[in-house]
């Protein structure tokens, strides 16, 4: 089947979802990111790869952290960067997504980084754009957040280089989480043998086992002997509905505390995609504790996004 993310030579043209990408491409991104980590530690934190290119961050849904790291990444590649918070501008005047994209293409944008609350928005744009334009999905609805999945893999690889010998637990609101979906696809593609999800039944999608994960509803059982603990953000709006009794109740059952973390391997790492709800899904003592790699995740996110953007920009058909 044709993969819309790859060009005719099998090179990555758009990054829309980790699902369907071969392991070789994921490894290429992670290896390239490894080379970019050094750039951020130098006197001049820039390389000239995307000089003269224009990257447009179009955020139809707010996200300060993701937008900022994409912006820093593009700037460290020497691209010109435009940030558009469309939720507050043309969309409210009735312009369609594709009109917005057409207008920016007319301004000679070379790459779109797209965040949208609707699943499939980035795919729609990728199908629509001119052949030389590249699209990066920065999160679409409940579907995918591939650069988050990749930076999580990069972080895991840094601390636990042998991916083929890991037990990983993803904890929290898997049902509404594009991050969880991208993480699960990335982990299984990279050959992690045991991926667990731990969540109440109301926060798990139907048939989640089909993604190749083991399901636990009890933290104490699910955390036993894991190497990596990946927390998910509990969206505040979920609390008001019928899915959960209360934030306090959730924390009691599924919040990560030092005591529960002690069930994992002693050298287990704790990850969170941010922004954190302290005292809801994660206790402050854990978030700021020795095993937390939450801030390194943010740092690595820049190198990973630099890798993605430079690989895409270099995959124009000759």
């Amino acid at each position: 089947m044709h993969n819309p993310q790859l060009n005719k030579d099998g090179k990555l043209k758009h990054l829309l979802s980790i699902e369907g990408l071969p392991r070789a491409i994921l490894n290429q991104i992670l290896d390239t990111a490894e080379s970019f980590t050094g750039v951020s530690e130098r006197e001049v934190k820039k390389v000239p790869l995307l000089r003269g290119k224009t990257v447009c961050n179009i955020f139809f849904e707010n996200s300060t952290r993701t937008r900022t790291t994409f912006e820093i990444a593009a700037k460290r590649l020497s691209a010109d960067v435009l940030n558009l918070n469309v939720s507050t501008s043309s969309q409210s005047k009735g312009e369609t997504i594709l009109d917005t994209v057409d207008n920016l293409t007319a301004m000679h944008a070379d790459m779109f980084v797209v965040r949208h609350s609707q699943s499939g928005a980035a795919h729609l744009i990728a199908r629509h754009v001119a052949p030389h334009v590249h699209v990066v999905n920065a999160g679409d609805g409940r579907h995918a957040h591939p650069t988050q999945g990749l930076l999580d893999m990069f972080t895991i690889r840094r601390y636990k280089p042998d991916m083929h010998n890991l037990r990983v637990a993803i904890i929290g609101d898997v049902l509404h989480s594009r991050v969880a979906r991208s993480e699960i696809h990335a982990l299984t593609t990279l050959g992690v043998p045991e991926v667990r999800v731990i969540a109440p039944k109301t926060l798990l999608p139907q048939d989640v086992e089909k993604l190749g994960v083991q399901v636990y509803h009890d933290m104490r059982a699910g955390l036993k002997d894991v190497d990596v603990v990946m927390m998910l953000r509990l969206q505040n709006e979920r609390m008001s509905g019928s899915l959960l009794p209360s934030a306090q109740e959730y924390f009691k059952c599924f919040g990560l505390t030092q005591e529960k973390l002690a069930l994992a391997k002693p050298d287990a790492i704790v990850m969170h995609p941010g922004p954190m709800n302290r005292g809801v899904e994660i206790d402050s003592a854990v978030a700021d504790g020795m095993q937390s790699v939450i801030l390194p995740q943010v740092t690595y996110g820049i190198a990973v996004r630099m890798a993605v953007m430079s690989i895409l920009a270099g995959s124009n058909d000759a």
Binding site: V39, V44, P48, S310, I311
Partner: protein, 167 residues
């Protein structure tokens, strides 16, 4: 080819002897991936003086990125010393167009402002396209553009040169 290729191991010894008189405590060796790094590591042993050294992968500075994109594999550049005011000897295996060296110079300057930079190569094959030339070269071997000269390693680590027709 009628004339046989030079022995890479002999060239390496010759290059070390050329460099020995110019080495000072302020000298740093920087090898360009991948052949230049191999040579640098051997030079460090041959010269047998403790020298600051580093490696460059110039992929992020190449001038053909728009045509060819990124190589599938890049390695991190590592310059673990202060570049400022340093005497740097850049090391590569084969000098050809000079474009790799231009990229390496640009990258080095993003680490700081060295006192001077010179270039040492095993083979200068001619064909430069930029006003850049090696100060130290163990061998001059003019080759037509349709030939590709590569430095390779035997299993025991000894170097040899291979000449192929350009794909």
């Amino acid at each position: 080819m009628t004339t046989p290729l030079p022995e890479a191991e002999q060239l390496l010894t010759r290059l070390a002897e050329q460099l020995r008189p110019v080495i000072t405590p302020a000298t740093a060796l920087v090898g360009i991936h991948s052949g230049g790094v191999w040579i640098m590591q051997r030079l460090l042993k041959l010269l047998d003086v403790p020298l600051a050294h580093g490696t460059l992968d110039v992929s992020f500075y190449r001038d053909d990125f728009n045509q060819r994109g990124l190589k599938p594999t890049t390695r991190p550049s590592q310059i673990p010393f202060e570049v400022e005011a340093r005497h740097i000897i850049l090391i590569d295996d084969v000098f050809y167009t000079g474009r790799t060296i231009r990229a390496a110079l640009n990258e080095l300057f993003d680490y700081g402002r060295p006192a001077n930079i010179s270039l040492a190569v095993l083979v200068n094959r001619g064909g430069r396209e930029l006003p850049i030339a090696p100060q130290f070269s163990a061998c001059e071997l003019p080759l037509p553009a349709d030939k590709n000269l590569q430095l390779l390693q035997h299993e025991d680590g000894r170097f040899y040169l291979r000449l192929d027709d350009q794909a």
